[in-house]
Symmetry: D2
Subunit: 501 residues, 4 copies
Amino acid sequence: AKVGVESDGHSQSTVSITVVGASGDLAKKKIFPALFALYYEGCLPEHFTIYGYSRSKMTDVELRDMVSKTLTCRIDKRANCGEKMEEFLKRCFYHSGQYDSQEHFTALDKKLKEHEAGRISNRLFYLSIPPNIFVDAVKCASSSASSVNGWTRVIVEKPFGRDSETSAALTKSLKQYLDEDQIFRIDHYLGKELVENLSVLRFSNLIFEPLWSRQYIQNVQLIFSEDFGTEGRGGYFDNYGIIRDIMQNHLLQILALFAMETPVSLDAEDIRNEKVKVLRSMRPIKVEDVVIGQYKSHTNGGVTNPGYTDDKTVPKDSLTPTFAAAALFIDNARWDGVPFLMKAGKALHTKRAEIRVQFRHVPGNLYNRNTGSDFDKATNELVIRVQPDEAIYLKINNKVPGLGMRLDRSNLNLLYSARYSKEIPDAYERLLLDAIEGERRLFIRSDELDAAWALFTPLLKEIEEKKRIPEYYPYGSRGPVGAHYLAAKHKVQWGDVSLDQ
Amino acid sequence: AKVGVESDGHSQSTVSITVVGASGDLAKKKIFPALFALYYEGCLPEHFTIYGYSRSKMTDVELRDMVSKTLTCRIDKRANCGEKMEEFLKRCFYHSGQYDSQEHFTALDKKLKEHEAGRISNRLFYLSIPPNIFVDAVKCASSSASSVNGWTRVIVEKPFGRDSETSAALTKSLKQYLDEDQIFRIDHYLGKELVENLSVLRFSNLIFEPLWSRQYIQNVQLIFSEDFGTEGRGGYFDNYGIIRDIMQNHLLQILALFAMETPVSLDAEDIRNEKVKVLRSMRPIKVEDVVIGQYKSHTNGGVTNPGYTDDKTVPKDSLTPTFAAAALFIDNARWDGVPFLMKAGKALHTKRAEIRVQFRHVPGNLYNRNTGSDFDKATNELVIRVQPDEAIYLKINNKVPGLGMRLDRSNLNLLYSARYSKEIPDAYERLLLDAIEGERRLFIRSDELDAAWALFTPLLKEIEEKKRIPEYYPYGSRGPVGAHYLAAKHKVQWGDVSLDQ
Amino acid sequence: AKVGVESDGHSQSTVSITVVGASGDLAKKKIFPALFALYYEGCLPEHFTIYGYSRSKMTDVELRDMVSKTLTCRIDKRANCGEKMEEFLKRCFYHSGQYDSQEHFTALDKKLKEHEAGRISNRLFYLSIPPNIFVDAVKCASSSASSVNGWTRVIVEKPFGRDSETSAALTKSLKQYLDEDQIFRIDHYLGKELVENLSVLRFSNLIFEPLWSRQYIQNVQLIFSEDFGTEGRGGYFDNYGIIRDIMQNHLLQILALFAMETPVSLDAEDIRNEKVKVLRSMRPIKVEDVVIGQYKSHTNGGVTNPGYTDDKTVPKDSLTPTFAAAALFIDNARWDGVPFLMKAGKALHTKRAEIRVQFRHVPGNLYNRNTGSDFDKATNELVIRVQPDEAIYLKINNKVPGLGMRLDRSNLNLLYSARYSKEIPDAYERLLLDAIEGERRLFIRSDELDAAWALFTPLLKEIEEKKRIPEYYPYGSRGPVGAHYLAAKHKVQWGDVSLDQ
Amino acid sequence: AKVGVESDGHSQSTVSITVVGASGDLAKKKIFPALFALYYEGCLPEHFTIYGYSRSKMTDVELRDMVSKTLTCRIDKRANCGEKMEEFLKRCFYHSGQYDSQEHFTALDKKLKEHEAGRISNRLFYLSIPPNIFVDAVKCASSSASSVNGWTRVIVEKPFGRDSETSAALTKSLKQYLDEDQIFRIDHYLGKELVENLSVLRFSNLIFEPLWSRQYIQNVQLIFSEDFGTEGRGGYFDNYGIIRDIMQNHLLQILALFAMETPVSLDAEDIRNEKVKVLRSMRPIKVEDVVIGQYKSHTNGGVTNPGYTDDKTVPKDSLTPTFAAAALFIDNARWDGVPFLMKAGKALHTKRAEIRVQFRHVPGNLYNRNTGSDFDKATNELVIRVQPDEAIYLKINNKVPGLGMRLDRSNLNLLYSARYSKEIPDAYERLLLDAIEGERRLFIRSDELDAAWALFTPLLKEIEEKKRIPEYYPYGSRGPVGAHYLAAKHKVQWGDVSLDQ
């Protein structure tokens, strides 16, 4: 049933998964539950061991206790869940250590060896730790806890630098200790079910590919919005800002997947080759094609939400954008002239992440008299919603049943998730499984990362060096109005603000 | 709310609708109920009168009684239905007369004039009578009961001749008494909701038109099947056969609508111009591209169904086809080389009428390994089901949610009738309303009829003159296997025989 | 060798061609020479007679003498030309008469009958007379000189009215005496070799049709310019103006032929059906999309050319445009949004008539660095030159041979007339032959004429009622600069003003 | 004037070009003349030195004498040619040595250093020697004669191995001494003017790219034929055969360039990436899609030409193919189902190398009656002739001028070389210049070479292991008739055998 994925799970081999930063939030909320889900579904190899590693002192039992609290969320309604959980926890262990200590990693290595019991040893390290200690941890893991007869892989989370220079430096450092094919840069948006389905729809159906170009698509919108602010934890964010936090990775990655040419195969290298081509074909972003914003305090119905700079962890005079909108262009034969509009923001009125593809109007439309003045609303639109609920739907016009001729627009759900009873797995499950199986399709390669930074670094420099003032918008609003003017300048209307979304 | 339709209903005008052949089955089951439905929906003009005309002796009350029995079917669950029915029946009258009597029609004229009471008089005659008396009735209605200051229109039902010659003769006769724009040749299949919606989907959405050609469509199938035989009433049928009864009109009309170029407007003349162009571009049908069949008696589970020639009204040695399949081709730039397969039959295993559009395979399909050997099943297919339940759905491939990559094919319902609570009106309602309003889009023009006969007449001659023996098939079966060989010869597989339809 | 043309020339039939207005300029310069050329090429039927008819008194010999003077132009270098000319002139006769005299036409009829000598009689009248006597002549010819056993056809020259009303009135009058298929409205631009070749190129080669739409064509230009003014004969012109004289017929006819959909066949009715569809799809012309001009006196190198109102036959205060430019749009699926720019003028710097098709730029052009700032010059362009020398050429970019990479644009001649030694026949030859053979493809049908007037009449009314002042331009110049602003408004640059045409 | 090429020629740098194998035929006929032509055109850097290196004993003067004899061919008619030649020869030197002697290369290095005189040293070695000594020479040149402060590059000629294994071994050996970007694998067919122009035509004109796919192209033919046999020098050839000698490199390289997707830029790596994608998308070649042949003796007009095995240097029982034809397929979205037919042979009736692109027929062709039974001849065809005279022409249908409608097919020359007076440079000039300038676009990368061998190796194994007998054909004939059956099987007709080529 698996495609392009070969199992590494010989009965004589084993996988050891070490979660570095095991006491952190991400580990608790996402990584351990995902590992359990994989175990429950029978996707982990027969022999495996899971190690939590962090600076805190903890026993195996304490780790298991901690982990067990978060396992309930997804699976507990299912049969024999408790039993499975018991078995899983028995395979979880804890090792306390500093992230930069060769000695502590050597101790871990010794424990791992015991569990491996002479089998072929494959090791996966998941680095769930702050960027400033990435390289040290990689160095130690690589030097003192690498597998000697199997593979060693390291999953790293963003941020991957702050700009072209720091990113290149980080990559260079990592490559002192790891080969390119050992580094798994995770962007969990790429692990979403519908990002996979996007390619299936496009490449396994005849009817979408002919439409996938400037001849039929008027614009593409990539929208990310959160309905909450930094909420007292803005320290990390203030150093990065929304462009680095969301646009340069999540939105740009999805854009590249959406816009790429047909790859020569579904292999990871081929897909990533095509993604890099998209990034390299992009026109440098002009400052006048970018709007930045920052939310301010707002009172509504007696409830006051604080502004960004009201966050204690944020400097009072911070100009860090919590909102940004940008118009990007891909100067290749397929997309020449089609605006790709991006919008990302915190403390907005809604929580969502989606791609909206607005098609051109019907040339010489015979039904113009019917669609009347509201002409733009009647164009076809493909909406790929990543969250809150994954969905792909297409807006089409049809006739209202009955005598006479009245047109209406309805949503065509292309996913039909209702048809499938199975739950959609969390992005982390997919990505962890891919890393274990050596499937790199959804991870970011160095040259992709370079190209992404090459696109955004000049813009970020310009904004930060000139201390550009963000446009302020109320907490819970739809964001700065500048975003509308930006869209209008490119003859686009944001699709997420109409009543009929 | 109406499109391209101008109302003739001035307050000073009136419409008189005369159902000629009022005591027949069609009149009872379809025409009077449709007229009532139009009345109930407020679609008839303020002043109108309905006259039943036939040879039987009957009073107005008897007619009303007869009519009232069939009005229940569609509307009775609705509010104040009874009251409306009362009002409607008060406007229904009866006039007994011969179909070829000028005198009797003159008497009708007198009565109509009384009801019209000096208003502008518009008159619609619905000829629900056998073909041999068409011309006489038209002559009488035209000479003795035409409107003098408004319009006079005549609706005629098939058959419109048996071949090019008889059809041309009939048209010539009709034109002695009527202008082309007074003749409304009805094909009730064209009044189906989804035939209208087909044009809406194609012309008011950007995404269908680019696919509507030989480059993307591998073949088109037009399928009509009934699950019963002539059942003791085969006399009329035996004289015509399935090709004349279904193919040459219903299926060919739908084909022309489906395949036509974009008309210059939605006006009737423009649409009919384009339909004629399709018919004229069709390649003469070769006898070897046609399979004919006749059903024979079959016993299943103790129940025996009679064969066609077991019907008492059918000659024992009749060779009349009750089934036919044919491959047709349109030699124009859009459809060159695309087989249009037709299939029509009686006494088959199911009852349905549908258009199936099978798309080509995905060139260079990346997912070939997944669709495996059953490759053909994985192409996209658009199904337009005319009956039993009107629907338009598209078969697309998508990914089964979950880890790994498994493809599945699901049906995408393009109509979303569930969204609309309103009932779909019967085809006769739409057509009667169109005739009253002078909207000719769904009626067949003389040159269309000529072109349709020109296509089928040589084939019919060949079959009948050579006394070609039909392939026999059991009552209730899927029809002659020859139909499969015909399809295979053109590299097509019938879409209605797979499990996953 | 003829296509879609069936010869009417049985050995027992004869054709009589009567040139009504035989002493006029057109008759002398074009009609008689064209008839002789047809005779020389063996294209006339075996039995034929030519009659000159006009008010002047003349003998047969005098006519022959007059005619013989103009026959020299094209053929004299060829073999046995003198001999052929002798034979031809023997078949030419003259009849003097009033254009509105039944009696005189009856006398003509008598003479024609003598020549016909009992054969099947076919008669062609070529009306080369002023518009005010059209109808009278048609009436007389039809009533008193029609064929009784063959066909009678009448060729008429523009003007066909001044606007929708007068044109409709003229058509109505003609139809009192003639059926539609007897009327041959001539537009000699349609008889040009390359107008025929345009269809051949497009429809008999695979490679042009895919490019023939809004997706690849940025704009189309129809340009007509003369390098002389009215030169003392502006009386007729002043009553019509350049829009009626050139745009509404010649340019619009060519536009319709260029832009039409693929006809269902090459038959005249099918081609004319498609042309009418184009005309009906055209958006009403806005006054602000039209520039009008009038030439004024200009002195250059000591030579002074007079202005339009210096012409003695033109009123001093005439506002009649001698130049016009307009932007037109076809609101159908193929051409939606593509500007069709027309430009026509007298007393300009050059003499030419051509269609220029400018293609869009190459999306995502890899060679952008090479084409540099002069980007627009590097798009492909198709030029169809009607006069002075007929030609079709395509501008394409190629590499200058040699090391390094330098691009250049060259003209690709699609006609290769050099390949063919035969002379290109005059438009009148083709049209006369078509009229004799009943081929109507290149003549204008009533509904075409109506649609053409419907497009221009409101504009003409607006200009004339508001007494819009034309923009003055010097004799021999490139016309009003307003034409450039009009083009620029629609993002177009006139193709006839660049150095590299 | 150069595109995408940055000059390395600082005034302080110098280039030393060493022709290893200087006394061989290729060096004399192609390499030295090309170097002189570059010098004459001012394309070589200011400071340069040319060294001949081979085992023969020779003085500088003798080398110059030898070289001067072949310089006459191209340039001598030009101004001051003699003077330029003098200057050029002064820069040519000779060094005698063994190809595997570190000592001799060290001696060369010393001489080169003297000429470099302290400037930045760039060194180009052209290996014009047999394959069995490639690696030794590379080793010595790299170890003992590399530049220390500039670049060192090595041009190698085919054969690059005999199959996947030997080619991989050779690449591995070369990479011991050289980086990928130091290796310039030459295929002189890629240096032809028109191979460059092919990309210009396609990517800098709007009108070709839309046609460049399966939708419009019916088949592509790559044809190479020589009109002479091995002529007594078949020793080398017999070891390789025509498939390795011509198909696997020259024809396959041109195919890849022709069929590739639009690269992301014109940079060498981007173009080669796209070429590799084509090769990887190719379907394994089936033995039944290949025809092999060998020429036999033939007497014509008293002259007898010997058969292949009559060559003294060829084994009597040799089965080596001197002719091969094959049908290849590219399984991607653009080319799925389009046959790419290759044909290469010696001792045929003509000498030529060309690509022929046959377009599909016009769907629903209106002119079918005209093209009549000879329908296939009337499709459009694009011919790219590499030799004898470089040309690109397009066959289109147009109307024969004159009355009536007769279609004809003419050739449209897309190159218009007549327009340019400059001579077309030899392929070696372009390639040498590219190597000096570091432009790798026209050289073959290791992964390209691997993919090319992966395609042909299984076929070669099958043929050689099964000792497949070639089809014999007479010297000077059109080759084995099997090639026609192969074409017919894929519904293709070879374009080089019709009268009207």
